[in-house]
């Protein structure tokens, strides 16, 4: 009997169909549903590299389908897949030695070629170590302990990296305040606090 799947089919049914019958139709639905978010996560972590991000997403799907039996339908499949994608992306960063602890100094203005600096651009343009912690913590919602375990650093180091990453983002956004950057009111409040 041939099962049919569509956009309304719950994840657990799709996963079950892949587990039991290696259903390609079920995989197609699952792929279309969850790939854009996983790709976005990989893209941010890898600093906007489309080619590397696609490789990461492909590898994440391979690992996900291979270890599908470990997924519990009590957790969200999309979050589970994004976790795998983040893990693979971190491996890529580590292999290319881009995940070394960042120095305290800011990066040079020459690294910023775009006049229109929005929050996304600011995050993607961060040095890899800062970016990884900021994306994992502030965007993906991982705890410092989880980040530490993934990056092979302590939770304290993760906090320190996040502190510097936020400061770096603000520093880049504050002077321009163009195109959806951090609002000037927030920057004003911070400068008053100082």
């Amino acid at each position: 009997m041939h099962e049919s799947f569509d956009a309304s089919t719950p994840d657990r049914d799709l996963v079950r169909a892949i587990r039991r019958g290696r259903s390609e139709d079920a995989f197609n639905v699952l792929y279309d549903r969850h790939t854009p978010r996983a790709f976005q996560t990989a893209w941010r972590l890898l600093g906007g590299s489309i080619h590397e991000s696609e490789d990461v997403v492909q590898e994440a799907w391979m690992r996900a389908i291979e270890s599908l039996h470990t997924w519990s339908d009590e957790s969200a499949f999309g979050a589970w897949l994004r976790g795998i994608a983040a893990h693979v992306a971190i491996d890529v960063l580590r292999k290319t030695t881009r995940l070394a602890p960042e120095v305290d100094g800011e990066w040079s203005d020459e690294e910023w070629s775009s006049d229109r600096l929005d929050l996304e651009t600011a995050i993607v343009g961060l040095p890899a170590g800062y970016r990884a912690v900021l994306v994992l913590h502030d965007v993906e919602g991982f705890t410092h302990e989880e980040i530490g375990a993934r990056l092979g650093i302590t939770a304290g180091t993760s906090k320190g990296q996040l502190f510097k990453a936020r400061r770096a983002v603000r520093a880049r956004l504050a002077p321009k305040q163009v195109g959806g950057g951090i609002p000037s009111e927030g920057a004003k409040r911070r400068s008053e606090e100082r």
């Binding site: 019958g21 390609e24 995989f27 854009p36 790709f39 489309i50 320190g160 996040l162 936020r166």
Partner: protein
């Protein structure tokens, strides 16, 4: 801890959090990625080329029928060959034994007396 508090001071403001939440949560990869991923999964036999239980039963029945028919044909051929085969030629050992036994029958019987 002072260390933690120092970092907590750098929390995002509510407006900044709103900005973060407003970031695009999705990004569309190239169309080729799906094809590549599906091909890789197929190559590792993780998806596709699956036989449904019904198809599997049909194949099992067909395979059983082939084995049965093959067994019948082989058995029939072996049986018919045995029926038409010429009388088996005795092996040299059997022939010698037969000669010996016929000679013994023709030999005169001798009485043996044992004295104590």
């Amino acid at each position: 801890m002072d260390y933690d508090r120092r970092f907590d001071d750098n929390e995002w403001t509510p407006e900044e959090i709103a900005q973060l939440r407003a970031l695009d949560s999705e990004r569309t990869p190239s169309a080729g990625l799906k094809a590549r991923t599906v091909n890789s999964l197929r190559a590792r036999h993780l998806i596709g080329a699956h036989w449904s239980p019904g198809l599997r039963s049909v194949f099992a029945l067909a395979a059983a029928a082939v084995v049965f028919i093959a067994g019948t044909v082989v058995g029939y051929a072996a049986g018919s060959r045995r029926a038409t085969a010429p009388a088996a030629v005795a092996s040299p050992a059997a022939a010698v034994a037969r000669v010996d036994s016929s000679g013994a029958a023709q030999r005169p019987q001798t009485r043996q007396v044992i004295w104590f």
